[in-house]
């Protein structure tokens, strides 16, 4: 009898103990889900297109997704920060002394169109002067931090080589003739007769996925998103939007996740952009091979269209407070390029998944931005070329690019990393992704945001800067494969 009872007790307590082992198992399963690199969206071991896992159908909208306020217009060449800074840079460092311009010469001595621009925005000119000063200091600082960040710098340079190939190795080629010629070059075959525009869209998306795109959407090209004042292959000129730029195929990839989380220093803008070049070049060739016109638009060097609003129109996501298109899958870790084409395509609809409303409450990117470039306004309240949205002070942003601990100005991207939407595709984050847009009360987003702000750790904005203002902080630690101390025989005096 006694033996019978103890056996029963043994089974009872043993079985109950197995519950504790199961709890430990849950901890292991959770930990592995967090570590699992195949949950890095866009890098999964899945079939083509599975990275675009969020079902957009229930969130498609016919409502306007851009808040139009009065007359709208195209963006001028000089309104792009890279264009106007390039123009200024050429003047400041001109080889011909008599053509040189110095800040002391004043705005009046600048040539058009940048003269008018700076007359209207004199603060942008002083910010650029500060930015150039910071760039000089950045080169000096680099000597002190070079050993620590040498691998990250080399990794970024390797990716950049696909963008700035100095030996004719650039792919795809830059246009050298007007779009009416260039976009049709080499077309030998008759236009492939698609059964319907829907078939054409579906095929093009599959092909784009097969070339490595994580997300693909299609939209009619809104002419307001086309730059004015310079056309690749033609030069500086006013131009009408070419008639064959009817549709835009818009596609996105993420940055490598672990280096992105270690912005501003370990990450690179070029890993995603070089990938986009490959996808764009191949898709361009494919489209022309089936008889249609194609023209890739690939930031940060080769484009005539403003990519973010195009991506919003194509249903990839919504515009965030940080000026980046936030997509349900990739969050702010979304880099985008487009191809304009004359294939008759079926466009996608824009989506509303509550990102705008979340941004109204969140402001994490504004809090952590080391330049103060991101607006703290509760609602978008700046009218930019007839569209109401949050304004990013790009000039201030660039100054930080020229300040952080990198060898040269190659970006910051802290606002991508800290965004609560930039989360991997594992069970907890995907649960949040799916629940929040379906919650009409906003309770889910309020709870998520409360957890985000009280549980997660963010360095103070100034900590991303070098001494004496900060400590060269990165959002997360650099991945071990980019940490010099793991691989190189250095003195390690930075530890």
């Amino acid at each position: 009898m006694k033996q019978k009872i103890s056996r029963r007790n043994f089974i009872k307590w043993g079985s109950l103990a197995s519950g504790s082992v199961a709890l430990a198992g849950s901890a292991v399963a959770g930990y592995e889900a967090g570590k699992d690199t195949s949950s890095n969206t866009g890098w999964e071991r899945e079939k083509y297109g599975d990275g675009q896992f969020f079902n957009r159908k229930p969130f498609e909208t016919d409502e306007a997704v851009h808040d139009i306020q009065g007359a709208t217009r195209r963006i001028n060449y000089e309104e792009n920060i890279f264009n106007r800074n390039r123009e200024l840079f050429k003047l400041i460092y001109n080889k011909e002394e008599e053509q040189r311009w110095a800040f002391s010469d004043g705005i009046e001595k600048l040539p058009e169109p940048i003269k008018s621009y700076y007359q209207a925005h004199p603060e942008a000119l002083s910010e650029y002067e500060l930015s150039l000063e910071r760039a000089k200091q950045q080169r000096v600082n680099w000597k002190d931090v070079k050993e620590k960040y040498i691998l990250a710098d080399a990794w970024s340079a390797a990716h950049a080589s696909a963008l700035y190939g100095k030996h004719g190795a650039r792919f795809p080629d830059e246009p050298t003739s007007p779009p009416e010629e260039w976009d049709f070059r080499g077309i030998k075959h008759q236009q492939l007769p698609f059964k319907t525009p829907k078939h054409a869209s579906e095929l093009i998306k599959k092909i784009a996925y097969s070339f490595g795109a994580t997300l693909v959407g299609i939209t009619k090209l809104n002419p307001d998103w086309v730059y004015q004042g310079k056309l690749r292959g033609v030069g500086k000129t006013k131009f009408e939007v070419p008639k064959h730029w009817k549709y835009a195929i818009v596609f996105a990839v993420p940055h490598e996740w672990d280096s992105m989380y270690a912005n501003p220093t370990y990450g690179s803008s070029y890993d995603a952009y070089s990938k986009l070049r490959w996808i764009s070049g191949k898709l361009d060739a494919f489209i022309r091979h089936i008889g249609y016109a194609a023209r890739p638009h690939i930031p940060p060097t080769s484009y005539e269209v403003i990519i973010p609003p195009l991506a919003v129109d194509a249903g990839l996501g919504e515009l965030g407070r940080n000026g980046i298109v936030i997509t349900p899958e990739l969050g702010a870790n979304t880099r985008i390029a487009a191809i304009t084409t004359n294939i008759e395509l079926e466009p996608d609809k824009p989506i509303k998944v509550g990102i705008r409303e979340f941004c109204n409450k969140c402001k994490i990117c504004a809090d952590t931005c080391p330049s103060g470039a991101i607006s703290f306004d509760d609602e978008p309240n700046q009218i930019i070329r007839g569209y109401k949205r949050w304004r990013i002070n790009q000039d201030k942003c660039l100054t930080v690019w020229n300040t952080v601990a990198t060898s040269h100005s190659r970006g910051c991207r802290v606002c991508l990393a800290v965004c609560p939407y930039s989360r991997k595709n594992n069970w907890i984050h995907t649960l949040a992704r799916e629940l929040d847009p379906r919650d009409p009360t906003g309770a889910v987003s309020t709870a998520m945001l409360a957890m985000q702000k009280s549980f997660f750790e963010y360095p103070d904005a100034h900590e991303f800067l070098p001494e004496p203002d900060g400590s060269n902080a990165t959002y997360h630690n650099g991945p071990e494969w980019l940490r010099s101390e793991e691989w190189c025989d250095f003195n390690n005096n930075w530890e």
């Binding site: 079985s15 399963a29 967090g34 907890i428 549980f455």
Partner: protein
């Protein structure tokens, strides 16, 4: 990665299933020995509570696995306290309500 391993991944989940099953058997004997009758709703509450504990632990450790250790630990701390309070209320309910 253990769970990505072709051999250990499926074995791990089988083991988890077995452990959960034996745990339920253990609970059955435990309540029987205490002369507490478990109705179906009570069983459902207990299992739901148990799964919630598992999910909470898994979620906390997912954050830790993602290098968000502070968030993981705070998450576990906050929800452990919440779950302990719920557990105490649940125990009273199970013992008191016939």
């Amino acid at each position: 990665m253990l769970l990505q391993s072709t051999i250990f991944g499926p074995l791990f989940w089988m083991l988890q299933g077995i452990l959960l099953f034996t745990f339920v058997i253990g609970l059955h004997y435990y309540f029987k020995d205490k002369n507490i009758e478990l109705t179906i709703p009570k069983w459902l509450l207990i299992i739901t509570y148990w799964l919630t504990i598992n999910l909470t632990i898994a979620a906390g450790f997912t954050l830790i696995g993602e290098d968000e250790s502070r968030a993981g630990i705070y998450f576990l701390g906050f929800f452990s306290v919440t779950l302990i309070i719920i557990g105490v209320v649940l125990r009273r309910f199970i013992l008191k309500v016939k």
